[in-house]
């Protein structure tokens, strides 16, 4: 370790190492649940956990994963989750780009009022509206479909606001040059506004995927069968199956099945994930 990093003086050096130790301990503490889940999921099912014996079994196995897959239709849950997440993402990217562009580029009557109306969604989160929204889904005849889970999120106040901010950052000169060159609005959007705003779109997209992959309450309310049930709702059903009981190796395997794709993506693109969460959080 270079000297410049380590502070001089005995006490400050002691402090430095102490803080490092605290950091390491806290980090370990925070990571224990996931680490334990991973270890426990590889434990042979024939060796149940007991007092003082909750980590490794006598050998490593993937048996719990295959058993979990055979006890519940996780493959179907995967497809449902992926379809729902992509459906939301696909529609959102279009709606927020168009709306953000309208708010950033044009002057028109009632612009402030319309923006305020859309930003209502930030003040009254969709989660809180599950009871009346359920009635709407019923009335639309969408109950127990994947579309029912996705449709409330097709318009995003948050994304619209983010894209508006990103588009407002685009230099006016560039836009004027585009107009003089005879670009129509779609060309302006595609060649002038979108290229410098791509990182914002990616940031929003990543957090949207994580958010909807993990969502549970709304899918629980509007699904009633495996044909539309996503991973989260499927997992909770699985944990409550009578024959599962306290088979922790099996439960952790099922849990990790739900988590795995996002978690692996996250480990690979850690920086982008964290960036996107910061971006999509900051105004």
């Amino acid at each position: 370790m270079p000297d410049a990093v380590t502070p001089r003086g005995f006490w400050s050096r002691l402090m430095f190492w102490l803080l490092l130790l605290v950091t390491a301990l806290l980090a370990l503490l925070w990571a224990v649940p996931v680490i334990w889940a991973f270890v426990a999921s590889t434990r042979p099912p024939s060796e149940p956990l007991g007092r003082g014996d909750v980590w490794f079994g006598s050998y490593l196995t993937l048996e719990n994963y295959t058993r979990a897959m055979s006890l519940a239709p996780f493959k179907l849950y995967y497809i449902n989750t992926i379809v729902i997440v992509l459906m939301i993402l696909g529609v959102q990217l279009i709606t927020i780009t168009l709306a953000g562009f309208a708010f950033a580029h044009f002057r028109f009557m009632g612009k402030k009022l319309l923006l305020f109306f859309i930003l209502l969604q930030l003040m009254i989160p969709t989660t809180a509206l599950l009871a009346p929204n359920f009635s709407t889904i019923r009335a639309l005849g969408l109950f127990d479909t994947r579309l029912a889970i996705a449709i409330p999120y097709f318009g995003s106040a948050f994304g619209t606001f983010l894209m508006r901010q990103a588009f407002l950052e685009v230099p006016r000169d560039l836009v004027d040059a585009g107009i003089i060159d005879g670009c129509n609005w779609l060309q302006l959007l595609r060649h002038v506004y979108l290229p410098p705003s791509k990182s914002m779109l990616v940031a929003f997209g990543l957090s949207s995927v994580v958010w909807h992959w993990n969502e549970f309450l709304w899918p629980l309310v509007v699904t009633n069968s495996d044909k539309s049930r996503p991973l989260t709702a499927g997992l909770v059903r699985f944990t409550q199956l009578g024959e599962i009981g306290a088979q922790w190796s099996l439960l952790t395997a099922a849990t990790l099945l739900v988590v795995a794709p996002l978690f692996i993506l996250f480990l690979i693109f850690q920086r982008q994930f964290i960036q996107s969460f910061v971006h999509s959080g900051l105004k």
């Binding site: 803080l19 990571a31 889940a37 007991g50 209502l120 709407t136 097709f154 969502e215 309450l217």
Partner: protein
């Protein structure tokens, strides 16, 4: 000549409706799934309607009946109390821990990325997955949480999710564990954009690390704190997924919070009227927190000017 004139004219006339068309899709979805349900809930909250009782299946107007019934019901008052404890405890503790984590890892040391990873990873886990893992941790006798506490000298009751005095605390622990790392990244981003010359001046003036954190870092990060507080408090009202896995609101409603109660009211009791009233109450809470935050941030803005 003539056709060009027509097209330019057409264009000019069409231009004014273009922005409205671009906003239309977003507008429709917000209208359908934010504005309309809010109004619908307000309307339904004035009616008695229970879908599982034949004579109450059709809505009857009862004015504020649902609200007065709720506020004179001990179960609801307990739920309100639980909700306030849940929000007022988990949000600040998660924020403080998030700040602490950010301070601890805002250094350029090899391997510090691992700590950041450890603190942040609960953020991307689904809450129901996290809760399933914690369900084991809270298991009496051999669950890791109890083992850990025994090392620390704890001898109290062990059935964290089944004990009325502990269930809400268990729910709060999981919420804090899940969210601290999320708030950390906002503080980290804030800290990395702080001016370094202030610190250099402070070092010259002989300030120690504690003073610098207290008198420079925290005040400069006030905007971050305000923002994080808003999302933390509003988020806490909505964070109930783990209750479905860990306690189901029990035992005897000890860990039932507002949104979970709302779900029970609508989908277990089939009480549309009361669920609507609860929706309105929840919205009022959320708006109160948002408006307070706006007011606070405006005031802080004035203080700078």
């Amino acid at each position: 000549m003539a056709p060009t004139i027509v097209t330019t004219r057409k264009r000019k006339r069409r231009e004014p409706i273009l922005p409205y068309l671009l906003i239309l899709p977003t507008f429709i979805f917000v209208a359908m799934f934010t504005a309309w349900p809010t109004l619908l809930a307000l309307y339904q909250s004035f009616f008695r309607q229970r879908l599982n009782i034949a004579r109450f299946r059709e809505p009857t107007f009862i004015g504020l009946g649902n609200y007065t019934a709720l506020f004179s019901d001990d179960r609801f008052l307990l739920v309100l109390k639980n909700t306030l404890i849940y929000v007022v405890v988990t949000a600040p503790i998660s924020i403080i821990l998030g700040f602490l984590f950010a301070v601890l890892i805002n250094r350029t040391i090899k391997g510090i990325g691992l700590a950041r990873l450890a603190f942040f990873q609960p953020t991307i886990l689904p809450m129901v997955s996290a809760a399933t893992i914690w369900m084991f941790f809270f298991t009496p006798d051999y669950g890791l949480w109890n083992t850990f506490l025994q090392y620390l000298g704890y001898n109290g009751p062990q059935n964290w999710t089944g004990n009325p005095d502990l269930a809400l605390i268990a729910i709060m622990i999981v919420a804090i564990w899940k969210n601290a790392g999320y708030y950390m990244i906002f503080y980290l981003a804030g800290m990395q954009s702080l001016p370094t010359d202030v610190y250099e001046a402070a070092v010259l003036d002989g300030a120690n690390a504690w003073q610098m954190m207290w008198y420079i870092t925290l005040p400069l990060l006030r905007r971050t704190t305000l923002f994080v507080s808003t999302i933390a408090f509003i988020g806490a009202f909505q964070l109930v997924d783990h209750i479905f896995v860990l306690t189901k609101g029990g035992p005897s409603r000890a860990s039932t919070v507002l949104l979970y109660y709302l779900w029970q009211m609508r989908f277990e009791n089939q009480d549309v009227g009361k669920a609507a009233a609860l929706t309105i109450i929840l919205i009022i809470f959320l708006l109160l927190f948002t408006v307070t935050n706006f007011a606070l941030s405006e005031r802080k803005e004035d203080a700078y000017a």
